[in-house]
């Protein structure tokens, strides 16, 4: 039995049923969910099994697919997040304008992604890549936002640039090695200059998909204007395709030795190219965080947060050491979990209230307790506070950077993660805590499917917090699998304790200590015999003696970190988005000028032709 064919069959069936039953909601959704879960179960079943099954698939030596643990890792992420997103969409997309086509294009995107993850040649990789881009572009158009065209188009155009950059580099490779297969790549036939160009063009293609600064300009618009359950998938799984591509191209096919050939820095034990990647990641992490802190729209904040988090992953890739790659893979999982959960929470809130700005919300904790718990766990993970899963990434990443002696970069990355704490707090404060608005008194809890979809990742995060070693056992496997020079300074994992030459951390002991201390504190807290805790009303707060009403705006939420904004105002003016906007304006002006040449008047064309002929003649005759 061929595993790949089976998976393709199951997913194609799901895709077809989404087209066939596009009018019948229950049938369509159930068949999609069934196909995704069967495929997911299938992948998980054969996750580490490579014997007794046929796991490669090729067609005329042109398309080549392979079923291996590394791809499976990403496929599980794609299918899992996809499943959750579709589950959440059941209620979220209900009776929305674009509901019918949403699922078709969603499935198309998933199909493309699974295809590109399993592909082991450039051609099928590129086809999968384009299907994914196209599908996601079409999904964005299914949302109800008025300005979706503008942002979808921006996303599409920038993605196209990335795709062409990728295509170009593929042609260069084919020109030299005469094969599209990854395994056929041979770095010795390239010169140093060619390799450098290749690395740059390939990276641009993938960095655009991962929304790394300065290629992030599409991200905030596309993330915030798509149907939000799709954004959960977009940010949770799809943005990682850039990371996957970098993995597979840089360390899978091109290989470290080829990268080192382009220039090697003894001090940092890394090539200049990788060093650039690290700093791009650092800058992205920092500036993305800063933008997230200062945004007023929930969706935009999460979008910039995604940009920042992708920066961490790029750092790990740039480091190229075992520890760094482990950190990246770990973060791919944790980010997938918490971003999915958060976007679904936000989708639920927007679904129930119709509000998207922070200052229009507040005090929803009693209306949506499950969403609150999911958010709480997600933001603790996001901020990387022990004992939940997020801290493992942070620890691995910092130790990896310190190991490579990139101390400045470490400092700024750590600062960025502190910044994440700031916006994470705002996320929970302005949505769930504080005073509830009068019009939100009878907001119902999130729909059941969404509650399930937001709680499952939360459980995953708690589990990863206590047993990060289980995941790392696998990631170590992949890293060996994709043939990286195994560095001596690897992370040593014994049970739940992590040790490397610089530091150590024991997840399980720390986690259990926190739990034990929590239990003891709770007992101590409730020891007092006479203690009666009275629950008082929402408005019974200190307002300097004044009496307030429900109409009084008592939530502090707009311009929450106004201090930072005021302090950094001069610097914030210069953003890449503004730069691009200006360039596009200039471009329009240029086009305007060009339009003047093409007036449509035959006589003008005649004159131009004459002038051109004369100049050419003069040039050749002289």
């Amino acid at each position: 039995m061929n595993v790949l064919r089976t998976i393709a069959l199951i997913l194609s069936l799901g895709f077809l049923s989404s087209i066939l039953f596009y009018k019948i909601r229950e049938l369509r959704n159930l068949s999609i969910i069934a196909s995704l879960s069967v495929a997911l179960g299938f992948v998980i079943k054969f996750f580490g099994i490579y014997t007794g099954i046929k796991r490669a698939f090729s067609y005329k030596d042109l398309f080549y697919f392979k079923f291996d643990a590394f791809s499976n890792f990403f496929v599980v992420l794609i299918l899992g997040v996809g499943l959750l997103a579709i589950l959440a969409s059941w209620n979220y997309m209900k009776e929305k304008k674009g509901e019918t086509f949403f699922y078709v294009f969603f499935m198309l995107t998933i199909l493309g992604m699974v295809g590109l993850v399993y592909s082991r040649d450039m051609l099928s990789f590129f086809i999968g890549w384009e299907v994914m881009t196209m599908g996601s572009f079409l999904v964005i158009l299914q949302s109800n936002e008025k300005d979706r065209f503008k942002f979808a188009l921006r996303y599409f155009i920038i993605s196209l640039i990335g795709a062409y950059s990728l295509l170009w580099s593929m042609f260069i490779i084919y020109n030299k090695v005469h094969s599209f297969k990854f395994s056929a790549f041979n770095s010795s036939v390239f010169t140093k200059g060619e390799l450098t160009t290749l690395l740059i063009t390939i990276s641009i293609g993938f960095l655009i998909k991962a929304a790394i600064m300065p290629f992030h300009t599409w991200a905030s618009g596309a993330y915030s204007r798509s149907p939000l359950t799709f954004t959960a998938f977009f940010s949770g799984a799809m943005s990682k395709m850039g990371i996957y591509g970098l993995f597979i191209f840089l360390y899978g096919s091109i290989g470290l030795s080829a990268i080192y050939k382009t220039g090697y820095n003894e001090f940092f034990q890394t090539s200049y190219f990788q060093y650039t990647l690290v700093w791009l990641g650092v800058i992205t992490a920092f500036l993305g965080t800063l933008r997230a802190i200062l945004s007023e729209d929930i969706r935009v904040m999460l979008a910039y947060s995604s940009v920042g988090q992708l920066g961490y992953m790029l750092i790990g890739i740039g480091l190229g050491s075992t520890l760094g790659l482990t950190a990246t893979l770990f973060h791919v999982v944790t980010h997938g979990l918490f971003k999915t959960s958060l976007f679904i929470v936000v989708a639920a809130i927007i679904h129930r209230t119709g509000k998207t700005k922070f200052h229009e919300l507040g005090g929803l904790i009693n209306n949506m307790p499950i969403a609150f718990i999911a958010t709480l766990i997600s933001i603790i993970t996001l901020a990387g506070i022990p004992p939940l899963g997020g801290f493992a990434t942070k620890w691995l990443l910092y130790e990896a950077m310190i190991e490579k002696r990139m101390f400045f970069a470490t400092a700024i990355t750590m600062l960025a993660s502190i910044g994440a704490f700031l916006y994470a707090y705002r996320l929970i404060q302005n949505l769930f805590l504080g005073q509830r608005k009068l019009e939100h008194d009878d907001v119902k809890p999130a729909p059941l499917t969404m509650q399930i979809a937001m709680l499952i990742p939360a459980l995953g995060m708690v589990f990863l917090g206590f047993f990060p070693n289980l995941l790392i056992k696998y990631t170590n496997l992949f890293i060996e699998l994709i043939n990286i020079d195994f560095f001596k300074l690897g992370v040593k994992v014994t049970d739940t304790a992590f040790t490397n030459s610089y530091g150590y951390w024991n997840a399980f002991y720390l986690g259990s200590a926190v739990v034990i201390i929590f239990i003891v504190s709770t007992i101590y807290y409730n020891l007092q015999r006479r203690a009666k805790i009275y629950k008082i009303g929402q408005l019974d707060i200190y307002t300097a003696g004044e009496y307030v009403t429900r109409e009084t705006p008592l939530n502090y939420s707009f311009n929450f970190y106004g201090f930072i904004f005021d302090s950094l105002k001069p610097a914030i003016k210069y953003s890449v988005t503004n730069f691009i906007t200006r360039i596009s304006k200039e471009f329009i002006a240029l086009s305007d000028f060009v339009r003047r040449i093409y007036t449509g008047n035959g006589q003008h064309y005649a004159i131009f032709t004459m002038i051109f002929t004369i100049i050419t003649l003069i040039y050749f005759l002289s």
Binding site: A544, L554, F558
Partner: protein, 365 residues
């Protein structure tokens, strides 16, 4: 709603008394401010119409709690003006001294409030402790610490006690030496300067139009002082300067007050030096039968916070017909505050409030 409504007061540590500023805040920026008063309204002007001239003295000083003597002085001078009562020379000197002492203690209180609002808590501990020495002298002179009932129509109640002069001069020396510490701790403090310079600016061209008076006005660079413009008591016989500083911000107001503090010390020294001997009061008729001829008058003086005026009308009976008190805090605390607060930062509200010397009881009377 983008804005947050914050109630600064009446029960708030940042407010200078029992009043309330209702703020509409957007982030850290204030969009709108509205002063609410009425928490301290006792109806003085109505109460005084029911009391005889002398009976009004005990309540008149309670109009402005931090600086009661200006009210006594104003009221006494208005009564004297209406009734044509003469004041002996020595009484005038003593009255001036009391006024300057009141100014000193008021500035000490202000220094504490101003720096306390910025979180420099050592300063109020020092200045209010030192202010108590002034209150001791008040107590020695008048018998009361806060409310003195010392100034009387036709003079003052008691003569200076024996040895008062030396003790007063010692105190002046002490305060002068303490001022050096205050300067180091507060006026030349880098962070104080950083917060005070450029905050709460009152434009010079608007200051007079807005009715700003006192040190706040002199802080914008306009020289206006009742003591020099229309001298009362014995201010024309004394040598002193009235400082002005350009800028109109908190810091220039602080410098004006610092300079005036030193001037008051010098004035008290001059008074102690030159005070003539003589009687201290002219007898008034039986207060219960003391009828003051029909008429009206307006008296004013320069209090530590600005021009303080009393308009009084008598109808020939033993009781006042109408009195209207014009205090500086009314302008500063209500209309001026509502004009200069929008656009400033939330953290500066209390600082600006303190620098204007807003005194709620005087606003509401």
């Amino acid at each position: 709603m983008k804005t947050t409504k914050l109630y600064l007061g009446p029960q708030h540590p940042g407010i200078t008394g029992n009043m309330m500023i209702e703020l509409d805040v957007e982030g850290n920026k204030i969009l709108k401010s509205k002063t609410h008063v009425g928490y301290l309204h006792r109806g003085f002007e109505k109460l005084m119409e029911r009391r005889t001239y002398i009976q009004s003295f005990p309540i008149v000083c309670r109009i402005c709690v931090p600086e009661p003597d200006v009210n006594e002085n104003n009221y006494a001078r208005a009564v004297e003006k209406l009734s044509g009562l003469e004041v002996p020379e020595r009484a005038k000197w003593i009255r001036t001294m009391v006024l300057e002492m009141a100014r000193l203690q008021s500035y000490l209180l202000w220094m504490g409030g101003q720096s306390g609002s910025m979180g420099l808590y050592t300063m109020p501990q020092w200045t209010i402790g030192d202010r108590d020495y002034l209150l001791d002298r008040f107590e020695e002179l008048t018998g009361g610490r806060v409310y003195h009932l010392y100034v009387w129509p036709g003079g003052v109640r008691k003569d200076l006690p024996i040895g008062f002069k030396t003790r007063m001069l010692d105190l002046m020396d002490y305060l002068e030496s303490r001022m050096k510490d205050y300067t180091k701790l507060m006026f030349e403090n880098a962070i104080f300067k950083k917060r005070a310079i450029g905050t709460g600016v009152i434009p010079k061209d608007k200051a007079l139009e807005w009715g700003v008076v006192g040190p706040v006005l002199r802080g914008t660079g306009i020289k206006h002082d009742v003591r020099i413009d229309e001298p009362y008591e014995i201010y024309d016989k004394l040598e002193f300067e009235v400082p002005t500083y350009e800028g109109g911000d908190i810091y220039s107001r602080a410098l004006v007050r610092k300079f005036e503090f030193m001037q008051s010390i010098s004035i008290i020294r001059q008074i102690m030096d030159k005070i003539p001997e003589g009687p201290i009061y002219n007898r008034i008729p039986n207060p219960f039968k003391w009828k003051i001829p029909k008429g009206y008058t307006y008296v004013k003086l320069e209090s530590s916070r600005g021009e303080f005026g009393y308009f009084m009308a008598s109808d020939g009976s033993e009781k006042l017909r109408r009195v209207n008190v014009r205090g500086p805090a009314y302008v500063h605390g209500i209309s001026l505050l509502e004009k200069i607060l929008p656009g400033s930062r939330l953290g500066d509200v209390s600082t600006i409030l303190n620098s204007l010397g807003v005194c709620p009881p005087e606003m509401e009377r």
